[in-house]
């Protein structure tokens, strides 16, 4: 590797792929509903293998369940379903780590913190999960230097 990264902020600024609603793939296109993380999920080291269990007919809500530790799961939603204007910029390093050469192969999921009600539930837009639907490789990408919220109300704008 020869690229110099002067700062993490610059990594984002020089990034390649922007994943927008129009170009986004869907995890419902996966031939096998499992994903392998290429990097650790912060807070959960060593848990790299997950299955995606669809919780509704529409494909708007999924349970992302660890195969390494059955007690760990996350509720995730496709960002496009709840935040259609959300267009995270994936830095080149992440794109390469995921083998993403075409933004059209990327599906973006956001982790939901389930509150007492839907109105009290939030989604983490600062660190989305990007899935290469072609290879089923995934990573939780921290959008350093962006203004994306860690806790965005799920119902904003609806």
């Amino acid at each position: 590797m020869t690229a110099t990264m002067p700062s993490t902020a610059t990594m984002t600024a020089t990034a390649g792929a922007t994943v927008t609603a129009g170009t986004m793939a869907s995890v419902t296109d996966l031939d096998v509903p499992s994903v392998d993380f290429v990097t650790d999920v912060p807070g959960f080291p060593g848990l790299r293998h997950f299955v995606l269990v669809q919780l509704d007919d529409g494909g708007f809500v999924f349970d992302l369940r660890s195969l390494d530790d059955a007690s760990i799961s996350f509720v995730v939603v496709p960002s496009v379903a709840f935040f259609p204007d959300y267009a995270p910029v994936i830095d080149d390093g992440t794109a390469l780590a995921l083998g993403l050469s075409d933004a059209g192969d990327a599906a973006v999921l956001v982790i939901v913190t389930v509150g007492a009600s839907l109105a009290a539930s939030t989604a983490n837009l600062l660190a989305p999960i990007v899935v290469n639907t072609r290879t089923r490789h995934a990573a939780q990408v921290v959008l350093e230097g962006s203004d994306q919220p860690l806790r965005a109300a799920l119902l904003t704008g609806s």
């Binding site: 809500v61 996350f74 509720v75 983490n124």
Partner: protein, 88 residues
């Protein structure tokens, strides 16, 4: 903690393939450059801590609460999800 003194332009090698270089020192602000393999994520520690905390807060919610929560969910696209069914 290993403590090393470095001047501007000098580097530290971590393992075989991570290089941290001091680029600039201005008052109490230090700019560092990091070269690392692509599979090694590099983050500001306070942001990483926030993400870690948020992930732990979100992990393993009560299944019944999740099912109840999303029965009425209407994503912006307008389609209406059916009540959740959980095969496991």
């Amino acid at each position: 903690m290993l403590v090393l003194t470095r001047r501007v332009g000098e580097s530290i090698v971590i393992g075989h393939d991570i290089v941290v270089t001091v680029l600039e020192v201005r008052g109490d602000v230090v700019r560092v450059g990091i070269e690392a393999p692509r599979q090694v994520p590099v983050h500001r520690s306070e942001i990483y801590a926030q993400i870690t905390e948020a992930n732990k807060a979100a992990a393993s919610p009560d299944a019944a609460a999740v099912a109840a929560l999303f029965q009425g969910a209407k994503p912006v696209k307008g389609a209406k999800p059916a009540p959740g069914s959980d095969p496991q």
